[in-house]
């Protein structure tokens, strides 16, 4: 932080200061130098590890570059061919459709479920609140690959515990991971395992709502629903907004869970072939890195556009106490 001396003792009679504020003061120069030294590694990292690869990947999307050259084809500039191909590739259409269906189902659940659980976990009447918080957060600490292996066994339609439970209550268990109609609901069920982070964030947000607001509202005759709608929800709306943005960006990158469970081909019958898996398959299975780069940039554009849309919508539903955005 730059320290600027503006007190009355620092001023000459004509209003000028003893210490020059144009960056030539010894202290300021020293601070500037240290500041640059501290920030330079980060800037170097940003440029070398992010900016240059990003620019290169964009350039790559206009070439026919193959990760491994299996047909002795020279790398050439193909203009917008890769980008045009995106619009005619049935795999891309399927990947987008699968991703969109999943997002439409998962986004509300991943927002409302943590909020609901956090609401319950902040109740003063709940016994063992800390224990429940730990229990809800615990799944988030299990390594994802290990968790997926457990889920695979759990959801097995023959011997999985969930199937046994359904049979016990008289239902014929579906083939969760092998039936095109059930694979997305199964992935959403698995996704609920990761709501611990959202719960923690919502708990912090709920605890941050000033109690005076509730007391004032109660005096005005507000019931529980009114308290939630008119006090809690507006006050936690910035956090909700943040959670939605993070989830949306995460959905654009959703890959590992379906990849571990059903492979890059998105079994069964492409029903779990998310857009990211099309990207993975084209780039790393078919070695079409140029096309893969175009796919990655296209997804970035889509997610970026949706994020901008969300930011625009924020003025209608996100409440900032000091009107900051």
């Amino acid at each position: 932080m730059t320290i600027v001396f503006t007190g009355p003792d620092d001023r000459e009679a004509d209003g000028s200061t003893h210490r020059p504020l144009d960056g030539h003061g010894t202290l300021e120069k020293r601070e500037r130098r240290w500041g640059l030294m501290f920030v330079t590694p980060w800037l170097l990292g940003l440029v070398l590890l992010f900016v240059i690869p990003l620019v290169l990947s964009l350039l790559m999307s206009f070439t026919n570059y193959e990760l491994v050259d299996t047909d002795n084809q020279e790398v050439t500039w193909v203009g917008l061919d890769n980008w045009r191909r995106i619009f005619s590739d049935p795999d891309v259409a399927n990947g987008l459709w699968v991703t969109m269906k999943f997002a439409l189902m998962y986004l509300p659940i991943s927002t409302l479920l943590p909020l609901g659980v956090a609401y319950l976990l902040t109740s003063e009447r709940l016994w063992g609140r800390s224990l429940f918080r730990v229990l809800f957060y615990l799944p988030s600490m299990v390594p994802l690959v290990a968790a997926m292996i457990i889920w695979r066994f759990y959801l097995n339609s023959e011997s999985g515990w969930f199937a046994r439970l359904l049979r016990w209550v008289g239902f014929d268990p579906p083939n969760f991971l092998g039936d095109p109609a059930w694979v997305l609901p199964a992935l959403i069920l698995i996704g609920t395992w990761g709501i611990g982070n959202g719960i923690i964030i919502f708990i912090a947000a709920l605890n941050g709502v000033p109690k005076e607001l509730y007391e004032a509202a109660r005096i005005d005759g507000a019931n529980k629903w009114h308290l939630f709608r008119d006090v809690t929800w507006p006050m936690i709306s910035p956090i909700t907004f943040y959670n939605i943005i993070v989830t949306l960006v995460g959905l654009g990158q959703y890959f590992l869970v379906p990849f571990i469970l059903n492979g890059a081909e998105g079994r069964p019958e492409g029903a779990s072939k998310f857009y990211t898996m099309v990207f993975f398959q084209e780039t790393f299975s078919f070695f079409q890195a140029g096309y893969g780069a175009a796919l990655a940039w296209a997804m970035f554009i889509v997610v970026f556009a949706l994020t901008v849309l969300l930011f625009w919508s924020a003025k209608f539903w996100v409440h900032y106490e000091f009107e900051e955005r």
Binding site: H24, T40, V68, N72, F153, D179, P268, F286
Partner: protein, 508 residues
């Protein structure tokens, strides 16, 4: 304002930081590689580089015990003169935990057998090996030797392998023990990209206890001259050993929780506890189809047409899985009952698979043997897998890499074949190989039926490449999932769609 002075300051600072960063990287690299030099056991993806013999590593030796110090001294003394040859393992078999130590022993034996080459092995898990190798090649950091790898794994990297013929000539390597089988590794352009190392014929692995329990004769133990065989000679089950006969026997061997077999009207398909048959890890469409007849999807005119025998094979297996319920579907294979390794669970009576399955058959006990493969329309097809080692075309040490291969095909052959469970491609060392297998499986396995299968090997091989191999192969494999998962899967419609897609792909 003194902008020039500020810029100078900034430049000086940046240069200082850059130099600092370079030093940090260099020091970091040295420390890291020094720990990997003799650490192949614990580090499967790291490689040794020359900096491993740097000062840091030498200083660390003081803290080591005598034996370790001695070992490191030996390697350090020669590292400077040795050419490093990198060996990439994982594209085929070889990266399982239980295989790593034994391959390390081969590497150590090679390294101590001469003083001009330092063989460095990289083990990559099979599930990611293709991606890792692709990345290494793309980064200009391709390994020298890749293998063991079969045809299918090799097809994915077509055009990346060196022609071995000049290396063979320079080394005066004798190909005569391979009896001409190396020709199967010759490309259409005439380059010899591999020398056969291990072959994996197929057979019917069967569980004798389950057959005894059902009072059924075992599968035939030998082939007639024409490849046919007779099942249950002199019993009520006597008949030609065909896939229909196998299905009949498999139904009797499939049992539900109440003890009813699949021929009974009371057979409860939802509670099967024992299956009669499984295509053990060989249910990908090309392999499954070839059971009924060898062929290729790519026709002579360049169009796509799935061989009629393949379609018959898919329908036969679909019926066995979803109608008779004498073979497990995907969920049943992954269930606790079969645990992903159907025959090994002891709950499957017969499995059609390759010799490499001896790798993974520890739990079923010693009550198993190998029988004859059935015929379809009077024709026997024994699907064959073959592994080899390849040299990357960009390797700067191709002749040294071939020296390593000479060792693999010579002194190290039996050790490596034992690790991979592969039958030697060289007939002259097969007896020694099977003697070792007999020690491992003392119940007296009928290995002869496996060797006989070589005479009926699939030609063309089911792993033969096709145009746009990566995309085409992925599209073909999409058949497998619904075939094993969907009882209502319309095979004819799926085949028509597959052919249309492949024609479009190849036309593009």
């Amino acid at each position: 304002m003194k902008p020039k002075s500020q810029v100078n300051h900034l430049l000086r600072t940046l240069i200082f930081l850059s130099v600092l960063a370079l030093f940090a990287s260099a020091c970091g690299g040295s420390t890291s590689s020094s720990t990997t030099s003799d650490d192949a056991d614990s580090t499967t993806t790291d490689t040794v580089d020359d900096s491993a013999t740097g000062d840091d590593a030498m200083e660390d030796e003081d803290a080591m015990d005598d034996a370790e110090t001695e070992a490191e001294d030996t390697s350090d003394a020669s590292d400077g003169d040795r050419t490093e040859v990198r060996w990439f393992v994982g594209l085929g078999t070889g990266s399982q935990d239980e295989q790593i130590d034994r391959q390390d022993a081969v590497v150590d034996a090679f390294n101590s057998s001469q003083d001009s080459i330092e063989l460095v092995v990289e083990y990559i898990d099979n599930t990611t090996a293709k991606d890792v190798l692709a990345t290494q090649i793309a980064a200009g950091n391709a390994p020298d030797i890749i293998g063991p790898v079969g045809l299918e794994g090799s097809n994915a990297f077509a055009g990346q392998y060196a022609d071995l013929e000049p290396l063979i000539a320079a080394a005066e390597f004798d190909l005569s023990p391979f009896a001409g089988s190396e020709e199967s590794y010759r490309t259409a352009e005439g380059a010899l990209e591999g020398v056969p190392f291990a072959t994996f014929p197929s057979g019917i692995f069967f569980n004798k206890d389950l057959f005894d329990e059902a009072g059924l004769p075992y599968p035939p133990a030998e082939y007639n001259a024409d490849g046919t065989s007779l099942y249950g000679e002199g019993t009520e089950y006597e008949g030609d050993w065909t896939y229909d006969k196998l299905a009949e026997i498999a139904a009797i061997l499939s049992v539900d929780a109440a003890g009813n077999d699949a021929t009974s009207a009371a057979y409860d398909k939802a509670n099967v506890v024992q299956f009669g048959f499984a295509h053990q890890w060989t249910s990908n469409p090309a392999s499954l189809g070839t059971s009924f007849g060898a062929g290729r999807i790519e026709q002579a005119d360049g169009s796509a047409q799935v061989p009629a025998e393949w379609v018959e094979s898919y329908k036969w297996y679909q019926n066995l899985v979803h109608e008779v319920n004498a073979a497990p579907n995907s969920a049943q294979t992954a269930s606790d009952l079969l645990a992903g390794n159907a025959f090994n669970s002891g709950n499957v009576a017969m499995a059609s698979t390759h010799l490499w399955y001896t790798c993974c058959i520890a739990d079923v006990g010693d009550a198993w043997d190998i029988g004859a493969l059935p015929t379809h329309n009077g024709t026997l097809v024994s699907k064959l897998h073959g592994d080899t080692f390849r040299i990357h075309k960009d390797s700067e040490n191709q002749q040294d890499a071939f020296t390593v291969l000479e060792y693999f095909f010579g002194d190290g052959a039996l050790d490596l074949l034992d690790v991979y469970g592969g039958m030697p491609a060289r007939p002259d060392i097969r007896d020694t190989y099977f003697a070792a297998l007999d020690e491992q499986f003392p119940q007296g396995v009928n290995w002869d039926i496996i060797i006989e299968g070589l005479e009926y090997a699939d030609s063309p091989n089911h792993q033969t490449g096709m145009p746009n191999f990566l995309e085409a192969d992925a599209r073909v494999k999409e058949l497998e999932g619904p075939l094993l998962e969907d009882p209502d899967f319309d095979i004819d419609a799926a085949i028509a769609a597959l052919e249309a897609d492949l024609n479009a792909l190849w036309a593009s």
